[in-house]
């Protein structure tokens, strides 16, 4: 296995299989929090942290607990609970140690438990069979993929929030204002992202 595989994993999960535009994961926060660039970025940072850690934790849980015990079928419930507890712990630590971080990031944490991008990436990591590369490289690959996915999420949140700030002041028919035009814009962005398909 060469190192390029990690680079490929990042590019592929960030651009080619972008979580929001091409895999439809995390659409709700994408629509909800992308109104302001600042809040969009804060949300992305929180998502990035939780997504990478969740990929790590779920991967370990799956291959160190579920597989040896032959109970892969409880994957869904185990993953969501472990992600939810992880989010709770993170929230607790942030509360305790930094008021500033809690004010800027903490308020997004509860939203993250029910952000399907986190669970989606964790489940997808398992079905990608990264374990074929060996336990540790597989773990590294899973984490790298999650990191790339989070970068892709952040990229979309940022670029979309800048578009959205313009859209707010655009002169649109009443019925298209807000979410409908945001969705159509996202559709056009998705078309553009399809064009990146060949880069790795």
């Amino acid at each position: 296995m060469s190192w390029t595989i990690f680079f490929t994993a990042i590019i592929s999960s960030m651009l080619i299989n972008n979580v929001v535009l091409l895999r439809f994961l995390g659409v709700c926060p994408f629509l909800g929090v992308s109104k302001k660039t600042e809040s969009g970025l804060a949300m992305s940072i929180a998502v990035m942290f939780v997504m990478v850690m969740a990929a790590l934790v779920t991967y370990l849980l799956y291959y160190l607990v579920l597989v040896p015990l032959n109970i892969e079928y409880i994957q869904t419930i185990a993953f969501i609970l472990i992600i939810a507890s992880f989010v709770q712990l993170v929230e607790m630590f942030i509360k305790r140690f930094s008021k500033k971080i809690y004010k800027s990031l903490g308020i997004y944490l509860p939203l993250i438990t029910t952000n399907c991008a986190i669970l989606g990436v964790a489940v997808a990591n398992i079905s990608e069979n990264f374990i074929d590369y060996g336990t540790l490289p597989g773990l590294a690959l899973a984490v790298t993929t999650a990191f790339g996915a989070a970068l892709g999420f952040g990229l979309i949140m940022f670029s979309f929030s800048t578009i959205r700030e313009r859209l707010e002041s655009a002169n649109l028919p009443e019925s298209w204002k807000g979410v409908p035009v945001a969705l159509v814009t996202a559709g056009i962005m998705a078309l553009a992202f399809l064009g990146l398909a060949g880069i790795v």
């Binding site: 709700c28 629509l31 909800g32 929090v33 109104k35 809040s39 607990v65 579920l66 015990l69 032959n70 109970i71 079928y73 409880i74 419930i77 185990a78 609970l81 472990i82 939810a84 507890s85 992880f86 709770q88 712990l89 929230e91 607790m92 509360k95 305790r96 008021k99 809690y102 004010k103 903490g106 308020i107 997004y108 944490l109 509860p110 939203l111 438990t113 029910t114 979410v179």
Partner: protein, 57 residues
């Protein structure tokens, strides 16, 4: 039976972390945010948006 035990284990973990988090006070003037409110809220940008706006005011 390992299935039941593992489920119990993660439930316990979640319970523990929730309680720990609940018992940690949010710093000073900030409120604890409740995840479920975001989900039950009928506004697409959830309660978070209002809360932020309140804070900004």
């Amino acid at each position: 039976m390992p299935a039941v035990l593992v489920v119990l284990g993660v439930v316990g973990l979640f319970l523990l972390s929730t309680l720990l988090n609940k018992n940690t006070q949010a710093p000073m003037d900030l409120k604890n945010v409740d995840a479920i409110k975001c989900c039950a809220c009928s506004n697409y940008s959830c309660g978070i948006k209002q809360q932020m706006e309140e804070e900004e005011e």
